[in-house]
């Protein structure tokens, strides 16, 4: 995807497919997904619930429960090495060290019986030779960095509020200065004012630690705030991928356009209705033939129902998985 770039991407996911074998059938969670992320960039990963965002993130760390999960094809190149082909020991070396993750719910993602500084020390001690006081100093430094007084390090997670816990989660994730930080809906469980603080913190620290960021969210506003690039995911595929400005000013996939129309704006008519995308996301055990968005697409043509296209570069750096992208010659609609 990034052949034109001179630098090899930090993360390059090629043709990744993941399915879950459940009692009610095979769930095709991720289907032939392609994605790449450059060093130091922030990529927003947007999609509805169940689009496969978290599954993809967990696959990067190779943390998919197996069984029932199964990676059926593809490769995940991280710094040029395929994570799927590494030994478990090599992967453990990377987890928390080079690739770190911030979890969705700070109320459950911290160990309730360990003090917060011990939890930060834990990840540092797993990946460095630091010991004793050095570890503790490191933990205090990290707490300071996320805006928590180091004296509070001796407290347990249940003595912190949700926003504070998420800061601790961020401190743990960044403690080993990872080259890739995955944030899985880091603000979904927080209230709006705290959301803004946490987003600012992530944005600030990402620049400071010089890590790449993969931000999973369904909030287009947050993406606009911190990301350089955006990938829109639908039914286990990336349907549109480009840099932030291009995608926000000129969405080319009908699904992306639908998403933007569904966001309330300051100038929306009070009491007016938001435009919704008709229908529901397809059942992942029974995906439609052809383009998976075709049953809901307002511009659907016969070919869409028969043939899936895959990502295609319609404009430089703007990839769309659509036969008839919006605003193009031969395209339909707006």
């Amino acid at each position: 995807m990034s052949d034109k770039n001179t630098q090899a991407p930090l993360l390059d996911i090629r043709d990744l497919s993941i399915r879950f074998n459940t009692d009610s059938g095979v769930v095709h969670a991720v289907n032939h997904l392609n994605l790449s992320l450059q060093k130091g960039k922030a990529l927003g990963f947007v999609g509805e619930t169940g689009a496969g965002k978290t599954t993809t993130a967990l696959a990067i760390l190779h943390l998919i429960q197996s069984p029932p999960g199964e990676i059926t094809s593809g490769e995940i190149l991280f710094e040029g090495q395929d994570i799927l082909r590494m030994t478990e020991a090599e992967r453990r070396d990377i987890r928390g060290n080079k690739i770190a993750m911030i979890f969705q719910d700070p109320m459950t993602s911290l160990n309730p019986i360990m003090t917060v500084e011990d939890q930060i020390m834990e990840v540092v001690s797993l990946h460095t030779d630091a010991k004793g006081e050095e570890l503790r100093n490191r933990a205090h430094e990290m707490l300071q960095m996320v805006g928590i007084r180091p004296e509070r390090g001796k407290e347990f997670p249940d003595q912190f509020s949700g926003g504070m816990r998420q800061r601790v989660g961020i401190a743990i994730a960044l403690a080993c200065r990872p080259t890739l930080l995955i944030a899985d809906e880091p603000t979904t469980a927080l209230d709006v004012t705290i959301q803004a603080q946490v987003i600012d913190l992530i944005k600030h620290l990402q620049k400071m630690v010089e890590t790449s960021l993969l931000l999973i969210t369904h909030d287009l506003g947050i993406v606009a705030e911190i990301c350089d690039e955006v990938a829109i995911m639908y039914a286990g595929r990336v349907v549109e991928y480009s840099d932030l400005r291009q995608l926000y000013t000129k969405p080319m996939h009908p699904y992306t356009q639908g998403l933007f129309n569904a966001v309330p704006r300051l100038d929306s008519e009070p009491g007016g209705r938001l435009a919704v995308i008709q229908g529901l996301t397809p059942d992942p055990t029974d995906l439609p033939e052809g383009c998976s968005f075709s049953p809901r697409c307002p511009y659907v043509q016969d070919i869409c129902r028969q043939e899936a296209l895959g990502l295609k570069e319609y404009e430089p750096g703007h990839f769309v998985d659509c036969h008839f992208p919006l605003g193009m010659n031969g395209g339909l609609g707006a």
Binding site: L61, L63, R92, D93, I94, R95, G96, N97, A100, M101, F103, Q104, D105, T108, S109, L110, N111, P112, I113, M114, T115, D118, E122, V123, L126, H127, K154, F156, D158, Q159, G169, I172
Partner: protein, 284 residues
């Protein structure tokens, strides 16, 4: 690691101190342990020292709790009996805690077929009435202190296994375990540092309560003549021996009965107190 758990235990201790019943239980147990250790120094007579001039005499200044049918001092026998009861309680629970805990942890963490096989074996054992099972095991092994402990220990393995499995399952599904894996922790490390300490509270409570149960069980088996053999004083055995004199010399059965009751009550108070103190979600 030692520093890590310190603060948790310290907090639990602070919480425990506020619970007067638990402290009472703790003090009683402390006295019992003290008595058991220094039985030789404390007891006024030997446990098999007989005095045929003093057969079945009620409590007096010379024999504080009276004498039994062989003229032995009941107080001394109770004091020596505490050794056996405590020993049986602790060793039997240790056996079931380690065996049951290991089975439960393995079944819960790995799941699938291993889980199925192990837990069905436990279910089969649970289907047999525990008292019958204990009788069968001690009858097969023969009487004696050690065999008694093994018999009592084996009977409560399934309870520990089920408890452990349930705790491991509930902890395993929590997000912080996934977070620990995302941190790069290995399976062994996750089981030892993340899962086990989080399962400690129910296990400790269950253990304390099980010690009481084991003592009761040992007394039952001795009462039936399967446990510790005379002349060694076992509280249950003493009760059994006192049966014929229930109407004429009630104190012979009352004092061993009281000893059993006080010990078990103390253990239960402490167990309940520990349960409240060790729950990390209960603040302050």
């Amino acid at each position: 690691m030692a520093i890590k758990s310190n603060s948790l235990w310290k907090l639990a201790f602070i919480r425990l101190r506020r619970n007067y019943l638990a402290i009472l239980g703790f003090i009683v147990l402390f006295i019992l342990v003290f008595v058991a250790i220094f039985a030789d120094q404390i007891s006024p007579y030997g446990y098999e020292q007989q005095d045929y001039m003093m057969i079945r005499q009620g409590p007096s200044a010379k024999h504080l709790l009276g004498t039994d049918e062989f003229g032995r001092d009941v107080l001394s026998r109770l004091i020596y009996g505490s050794r056996i009861s405590l020993q049986v309680g602790l060793v039997a629970v240790a056996i079931s805690l380690f065996a049951g805990g290991a089975i439960g942890a393995i079944a819960g963490y790995f799941g699938g077929r291993i889980d199925n096989i192990l837990m069905r074996i436990m279910d089969i054992q649970l289907a047999i009435p525990t008292i019958l099972l204990a009788i069968v095991i001690s009858a097969a092994l023969g009487p004696g202190l050690f065999n008694l402990m093994v018999a009592v220990g084996i009977t409560s393995i399934p309870r520990f296994a089920r408890l452990m499995r349930a705790s491991v399952l509930s902890i395993k599904g929590m997000e912080f375990i996934e977070a620990a894996r995302a941190m790069g922790a290995s399976h062994t490390r996750i089981i030892l540092i993340y899962i086990l300490p989080n399962c400690m509270a129910p296990l400790i409570v269950q253990s304390t309560l099980s010690v009481a149960n084991a003592i009761l069980f040992a007394a039952t088996l001795s009462f039936l003549g399967l446990g510790v053999q005379p002349p060694f004083p076992e509280w249950g055995g003493m009760l059994s021996a006192a049966r014929p004199y229930l109407r004429t010399n009630a104190y012979l059965s009352i004092f061993p009965g009281l000893a059993i009751m006080i010990t078990i009550l103390a253990l239960n108070f402490l167990g309940d107190g520990l349960r409240d103190a060790l729950d990390p979600k209960q603040k302050r």
